[in-house]
């Protein structure tokens, strides 16, 4: 019995370690299917999308990533070069699926159009290091 419990604990531990390691340093981008990666943001031409995205971001994302999206505690900055270089489709995919092993929840419950609005807002922010003083 004790051996079974030990084996189960070992399997659980190694699985979570593998999950944690597999997604680190932006490895999530490699998981984005090509059809999602190349998706065009339907909000790209909406002049109000950035403002609306800022409202949604403040409501759902700012508590972890900071009101200025520059990161908070262990939660990463969203003004990084990685986010700036990511395509709209890649960020939308990340918002929908989350990175559950790393604490990023899936935001599939948000309507897709609001996720695209957040993407517009994030890509409108100045990149880290290039921020006006």
């Amino acid at each position: 019995m004790r051996r079974t419990v030990l084996c189960l604990a070992l399997i659980l531990g190694s699985t979570s370690t593998w999950l944690a390691a597999s997604d680190s340093n932006g490895a999530w981008q490699s998981k984005v299917p090509q059809k999602d990666r190349v998706r065009v943001n339907p909000q790209a031409l909406d002049p109000q999308a950035v403002e609306a995205g800022a409202v949604v971001f403040a409501r759902h994302c700012a508590s972890c990533h900071g009101s200025d999206a520059a990161g908070l505690g262990k939660h990463p900055s969203l003004r990084s070069a990685r986010i700036h270089q990511a395509s709209d489709g890649e960020i939308q995919w990340l918002l929908r699926n989350g990175s559950l092993a790393h604490g990023m929840p899936a935001w599939s419950g948000l309507p897709e159009i609001q996720r695209w609005q957040i993407v517009r807002y994030l890509h409108s922010l100045p990149q880290e290091g290039n921020r006006p003083r």
């Binding site: 999950l19 998981k31 109000q48 403002e51 609306a52 995205g53 409202v55 949604v56 403040a58 409501r59 759902h60 508590s63 972890c64 900071g66 520059a70 990161g71 908070l72 505690g73 262990k74 900055s77 929908r96 699926n97 989350g98 990175s99 559950l100 092993a101 790393h102 604490g103 990023m104 929840p105 899936a106 935001w107 599939s108 419950g109 948000l110 309507p111 897709e112 159009i113 609001q114 609005q117």
Partner: protein, 288 residues
């Protein structure tokens, strides 16, 4: 004095967190695959008000809910139940401890969630957080002082399936419950569908915007037990649900459930209020 200090300290600690709004569905009985955000604590109350046919008395049941996002794929929840019955008394109904786990780390067309619960309640509990087996309106008629003597230590498993399609959420729950006092397994189900009133977010923050409100419907009921499974002699309910999330404020939910057969209560009115404290254990001013 000590109790007052503890209460004050707890309130002060909770109010240090910032309020947040999660992607909640408006259901009272049905669960979706949306988990509590990791590190967030939601404190809520779910009230059920109903009246069985004569000679039953009107009742009011309240479940206070503490929901914590342990990780992004694991949510823990504690319910504390209190039931009041007109012309009788108000009694403690018991507690429930539940865990929900998402086994798959990505979104799929249908997303499964595993649910485990332990309940230590008594027969006077009328919170109707689920309907299983041959639960009936007659269970609500007996005197509270008698029914509270009946101890119910139960384990419950739910298989939750949930999908998000074009702004809609569709959730299906299968319920398996067993009283540890040598009773047979009882079965139940819950189905829900909901949608925000507007999908596109407003460019200005507003309280009464339609994207802060959602509506839908729930259908739930018993499916008998191990020996007599099926819809025969089971309670069945259906009703519309509505929800209003005040930005950076509380969330209000409302449901009017109608009993679909004579075995059910004629109707149950449910009111829910919840408030989410975000990142309650986060260190202020951490490293960036």
């Amino acid at each position: 004095m000590n109790l007052k200090l503890i209460c004050f300290g707890t309130l002060a600690w909770l109010s240090a967190g910032t309020p947040a709004s999660a992607q909640e569905v408006p259901y009272f009985v049905t669960y979706s695959h949306h988990m509590e955000e990791p590190g967030s604590l939601e404190i809520g109350t779910k009230m059920a008000i109903g009246k069985p046919r004569n000679p039953g008395h009107r009742f009011f049941a309240d479940s206070t809910e503490f929901e914590y996002g342990t990780t992004a794929w694991w949510t823990t929840e504690l319910y504390v139940d209190v039931t009041g019955t007109k012309d009788e008394s108000t009694v403690f109904g018991g507690f429930r401890l539940e865990n929900r786990i998402r086994p798959l780390m990505r979104e799929f067309w249908i997303n499964p969630v595993l649910y485990f619960e332990f309940e230590d309640i008594n027969g006077a509990d009328k919170s109707v957080l689920e309907v299983v087996g041959h639960d009936a309106a007659a269970d609500f008629v007996d005197d509270v002082q008698q029914t509270r003597q009946e101890k119910k230590r139960e384990v419950e498993f739910k298989l939750i399936f949930s999908s998000d399609v074009k702004g809609w959420n569709f959730s299906e729950n299968l319920i398996f419950e067993k009283n540890l006092n040598n009773s047979p397994w009882e079965f139940g189900y819950a189905l829900g569908a909901s949608r925000p009133l507007r999908l596109r977010a407003s460019a200005a923050a507003c309280t009464f915007c339609l994207d802060n409100m959602s509506t839908g419907a729930e259908l739930y009921g018993g499916l008998g037990d191990r020996y007599t499974s099926g819809l025969h002699n089971t309670s069945q309910y259906a009703g519309p649900v509505a929800q209003w999330q005040i930005p950076n404020g509380p969330r209000f939910s409302f449901e009017t459930g109608f009993g679909l057969n004579s075995y059910s209560l004629p109707h149950i009115v449910r009111i829910g209020v919840a408030y989410e404290f975000d990142q309650i254990f986060r260190r202020k001013g951490g490293l960036r």
